[in-house]
Symmetry: C2
Amino acid sequence: MQISSRFTVALHIFSCVETFKNERKVTSDFLAGSINTNPVIIRKILGQLKSAGLIDVARGTGGITVTRPLEDITFLDVYRAIEPVEDGNLFRFHEAPNPNCPVGRNIHQLLDKKLAAIQTAMEEEMKKYTLDGLRSGMNELLEKGA
Amino acid sequence: MQISSRFTVALHIFSCVETFKNERKVTSDFLAGSINTNPVIIRKILGQLKSAGLIDVARGTGGITVTRPLEDITFLDVYRAIEPVEDGNLFRFHEAPNPNCPVGRNIHQLLDKKLAAIQTAMEEEMKKYTLDGLRSGMNELLEKGA
DNA sequence: CACCACTGTAACATGGATAGTTACATCAAG
DNA sequence: CTTGATGTAACTATCCATGTTACAGTGGTG
């Protein structure tokens, strides 16, 4: 199971907003062109980022503004905005282990902490990367003329 | 996107094998009863664990043997045996960013290392848990009389 | 005001994966 | 050869990701 491409698309969007904000209005159509997908896909993702309070989207006129300083938005913020994991658990559990089996009635307690620790390790690493780092990294690549 | 329940089912299987190996023959039917699913589901997962070299399954007579010392099998080994992520990447990338856009042609290079680091953080944490830890944890729970 | 470019969203199609189920060939031991 | 087990094919149902068309709503500008 892979994490959906919506996450990397969202990061692509933020990168475009920063790169082009002084040159042109960044619309869902323009983003769809850079990402090579459908504008509606973009709008849905923008909706998720908006619901999470990371951006504002101007109706009518179009255009995206990031609501917080870039160094205050981490990959984890974006990930949580995008991935609608209902109960917040990365790992899915088989639903109804047999309570009459000694293993069945203890397996949850046995695994829960370990699985949570694994998920936390991933999320802590995600916190290390910010949109500001993304911006400066892209700038470096562009200055190198790529 | 959640990681499929096959992973926790596999851990459940190992836990059962250790708990019951001196009491009874552990068959796919018995496991299906403890996990509360269909024996064929179990057999498919056993097939994956077998392909990965973690267990042997006796045809005809039935029964499961773990091929390595329990302390040498980590959650990561089980995870990799179970999750058929073709290219090994946890994160899925949008496939065809526009090479005519400066962001589109650099986004891969910009993100790849960071995404790999996040995945590695998760996998390193997975390495910390072994089947032997699982066994002793279950023993403790059972001795406490749960 | 009317236009126009843009967003928000519904509705639908499609493909792929998960999970479940039945059925049956195959195998090994007593 | 009977028995109890595995291996696997075939099929189903369901869900999710992604893509697409269509259209109503919005807001600035001529």
